[in-house]
């Protein structure tokens, strides 16, 4: 198969690139080895940065975030909650940090306003009464799964070929150029061969491995971060700690939950995502200093991601991005670093460079072209707003003839799963979950997994036990750390899945 451009990796960066290029009329393809968001794009906080976090330590990154934040709120409003954010300092924090912070916001174009203690408490009643200074910024929360899927859908509509569950395995070089790329398609078990003009390595933390297929090197530091999902929305804003970026600084309300994060440690590999018990305790301790209600919350799940940072990585590494070329493979371009928040900008830069090389003239359209409608447009029903929040433009394709619920924790309709199953991307149960949120609630799929699998069978699925086991193992991952009510839930899950259904090992 001939393509002008092949993009390897279906995280936010790759999906952004394939959309940008497709909208410019470039013939392109994207291959992703897992589901979209299999890497860092699924293992992050879901914070749409205002830039505030970086104004003191990393101003270029702060500027990028501020600009992109504004663009995404316009173009992808459906998957963003404009919660706004607060930066608060507590006793013991360096009191002199607030002033350079405010100054940095000004310098980087990050809108910011200091609140009095009274204003802060009335804006965010759960805030610790000990909060000293409080600065309001324009943070938001973003659903990365919905964002990336919308990019994929838009790219497809513009003619791109986008496939998940296709792992790139080999590259063939001739005369210092990649001439053929081979990939294994998990759906069919077949090998796919693509003949590209240009190859883009958007494999995130796997970028060094992909580059190595072409005999190239990409220097990268891998850095693991953990997050906790707690039940319920325990704050209205994104609440950040007003101090130099550190562990346990951020709480993000998203959908039905609040996400606490994050930590930082060197990762051994891109798959080294597992959170530790220490991480969990640290996150609860640090974030509950800002929001005391978090001391008594129900932790539903812990998960982690690996940051692909340029150079040697670590908390100090810049969050901007870079494009890397290597003469050993002249048509391979690697893109590393950046943030979810800046994915579009990265895609624009990469696409500019690609179009330049291809001699294509069309300009970038993603700054204005919408990815989805506002979720709560005037005149729309609440039901439609809920669907839009997850599916953007596709919300109207959910048939409301059968309004029965599939997942009661997350209030997911059977029809939503059916819509997703009718599309080209759902191969596994987890794929359906990422799109619909079925199984993401506090029962972690106990209630809906079988019903979901039945729908998959009706849609022509095979190997139900393998599919269920994979799904339930993934949901179980964060449960090793469960305590209190969530541990009770876990005991119930094991009684049913392991004890009665015989899934997993019987002890």
């Amino acid at each position: 198969m001939r393509k002008d451009v092949l993009i390897i990796g279906g995280g936010a960066t790759g999906a952004g690139i394939v959309r940008d290029l497709a909208l410019r009329g470039v013939e392109c393809a994207l291959l992703e080895m897992g589901d979209y968001c299999h890497g860092a794009s699924g293992g992050n906080h879901g914070l749409l940065h205002s830039g505030g976090r970086y104004v003191v330590t990393d101003p270029p990154s702060a500027m990028e975030c501020a600009k992109e934040n504004a663009i995404l709120r316009r173009t992808a409003p459906f998957c963003i909650e404009g919660t706004d954010g607060l930066f608060v300092s507590l006793p013991g924090d360096d009191p002199s940090f607030a002033d350079p912070f405010l100054k940095g916001c000004k310098g980087s174009g990050v809108p910011a306003e200091e609140l009095t203690a009274k204003e802060a408490l009335s804006a965010e009643p759960g805030l610790s009464a000990e909060a000293l200074r409080c600065i309001a910024v324009q943070d938001g929360s973003i659903d990365p799964f919905a964002l990336v899927q919308a990019n994929v859908d838009s790219a497809r509509e513009a003619g791109a070929m986008v496939r998940n569950h296709c792992r790139v395995t080999d590259m063939v070089l001739e005369g210092g150029m990649v001439v053929r790329v081979k990939a294994l398609d998990r759906r069919s078990g077949e090998i796919l061969t693509i003949v590209p003009e240009i190859v883009i390595n958007a494999a995130g933390a796997w970028a060094p491995q992909v580059a190595a297929m072409a005999g190239c090197e990409v220097a990268m530091g891998l850095d693991q971060g953990s997050m906790l999902v707690v039940d319920g929305r325990l704050c209205g804003h994104v609440v950040n700690r007003l101090r130099p970026p550190s562990d346990g600084d951020i709480t993000v309300p998203n959908h039905t939950a609040t996400v606490l994060g994050t930590t930082s440690r060197p990762a051994a590999s891109p798959e080294d995502v597992a959170p530790s018990r220490n991480d969990m305790e640290l996150l609860l301790r640090e974030t509950s200093a800002m929001l005391p209600a978090l001391r008594h919350c129900r932790v539903v799940r812990a998960y982690g991601g690996v940051r692909p940072l340029p150079g040697r990585g670590g908390r100090g590494a810049s969050r901007t991005f870079s494009l890397i070329t290597d003469e050993r493979a002249g048509n391979l371009l690697s893109v590393v670093g950046g943030k979810l928040t800046t994915y579009r900008l990265m895609a624009e830069r990469v696409s500019d460079q690609v179009c330049n090389a291809l001699g294509a003239r069309a300009g970038c359209r993603t700054r204005t072209e919408p990815l989805g409608p506002p979720a709560d447009e005037a005149g729309g029903s609440v039901a439609l707003a809920r669907l839009r929040r997850k599916y953007g433009f596709k919300a109207t394709t959910v048939s409301l003839a059968d309004q029965r619920m599939l997942c009661s924790c997350e209030q997911v309709l059977r029809a939503e799963a059916q819509m997703v199953l009718a599309g080209p991307d759902a191969l596994t149960l987890s794929d359906v979950m990422r799109r619909t949120r079925a199984g993401m609630g506090y029962c972690q799929g106990l209630d809906c997994a079988l019903s979901l699998q039945e729908l998959m069978m009706e849609a022509g699925g095979t190997e139900p036990l393998a599919s269920l086991t994979e799904f339930l193992e993934e949901r179980e991952r964060g449960q090793a750390l469960a305590s209190g009510d969530q541990l009770r839930q876990e005991v119930l899950r094991r009684h049913v899945l392991q004890g009665v259904y015989g899934l997993g090992e019987r002890e």
Partner: protein, 349 residues
């Protein structure tokens, strides 16, 4: 004779009350919430060694006869479920494995998933065919809502007769009172009827209803919806208990005590983070770092105080007692065995 207070009305509490009441003790059972016994499949995965005859007497029921031996059924996922005791329509014996199965489900209702189960059975070499009957019943409403009259049953019989094959695999939704319907259906369509082995639904509740009826018949009083909130222990014996329910708070003298409060799942044992604790702050708990197997320490059935002395008039049974050999989904035999040991200990005292 002074009263025996049984705390917890799951399998362990009800079996011990039955045993005690039959021996002439005045028994009061205090229970709250849904016991895990009602969440179980209503099947015992192995024989309760020391007391299986007694257990069979206790579970004797004409309307829902139990079968024992090497039994196999089909779980709600389609996987094989092996056990020692089950209701007659849940399992087959060594010679009775079905050659082919029609799996009956109701469209969009989670009671049984015909396509899923048929595929899983197929992988085990059992020929299976899904039969999905139309329905608009919301998933949180039990199937009983579709079966309010004879017509519904006749409809199912007719649909099933249209299919080929041997055994008919049905969702488990019948109460103890309606269990005879399965016999009726079997006669009506001339096919073996097999209920799916199902947790968290009718079968566990049926077992619990049966056990409650038997305990009451034997003379035990059951105080429902009440909680024992504290116990006083003096000179090595439990003396009084506070029982709360609604607006009522009652203090009672305790002659003897059976602690059958269940595991952490039902709040029988407390959880401090991941650590098991005694909510009464009176008895010794051995945790072993395992929520499932940890529980009250016992010596020949009797509870042990926090300082390590045996409590003369208190015994423990069921999930709340430490049992290093217990696995997920098979605690009922242990509930029976430990209840038997507990009663022996108290009667010996």
């Amino acid at each position: 004779m002074s009263e025996v207070l049984v705390v917890g009305s799951g399998a362990a509490g009800l079996f011990s009350s039955w045993l005690l009441a039959r021996d002439g003790w005045p028994v009061i059972v205090v229970g709250k919430g849904t016991p895990s016994s009602a969440m179980s499949t209503g099947c015992l995965r192995r024989m309760p060694e020391a007391c299986h005859e007694k257990a069979l007497n206790f579970l004797a029921d004409e309307g829902m006869p139990m079968v024992t031996g090497e039994r196999t059924g089909i779980s709600k996922l389609g996987t094989p479920f092996e056990c020692w005791l089950s209701p007659s329509h849940s399992t087959w014996g060594p010679e009775g494995a079905p050659g082919s199965v029609t799996v009956v489900g109701f469209q969009g209702h989670p009671s049984l998933h015909p396509n899923l189960i048929s595929s899983v059975l197929g992988h085990q070499g059992i020929r299976a065919r899904p039969l999905t009957l139309p329905s608009t019943l919301p998933p949180d409403i039990p199937l009983t809502a579709l079966f309010r009259d004879e017509g519904a049953w006749e409809g199912v019989a007719t649909e099933v007769q249209r299919t080929e094959g041997g055994t008919v695999h049905l969702p488990a939704f019948l109460s103890r009172r309606d269990y005879w319907r399965l016999d009726w259906l079997e006669r009506q369509c001339g096919r073996t009827v097999l209920e799916a082995v199902t947790p968290l639904e009718a079968p566990g509740q049926r077992l619990l209803d049966l056990m409650r009826a038997r305990a009451i018949e034997a003379g035990a009083s059951i105080w429902d919806g009440r909680t024992v909130t504290s116990l006083t222990v003096e000179n090595g014996s439990v003396r009084t208990a506070i029982v709360r329910g609604g607006l009522e708070v009652r203090e009672m003298e305790v002659g003897a005590l059976v602690m059958a409060t269940g595991g952490a799942l039902v709040n029988g044992l407390g959880l401090n983070g991941r650590e098991l604790v005694d909510p009464f702050n009176a008895f010794k708990v051995l945790d072993d770092g395992d929520v499932l197997r940890g529980g009250y320490a016992t010596k020949e059935g009797r509870l042990v105080s926090r300082s390590g002395n045996v409590v003369r008039n208190a015994a423990g049974a069921g999930d709340c007692v430490r049992a290093p050999c217990k696995g997920y989904g098979d605690g009922l035999p242990h509930a029976f065995e430990s209840a038997w040991t507990a009663v022996k200990a108290l009667e010996g005292a």
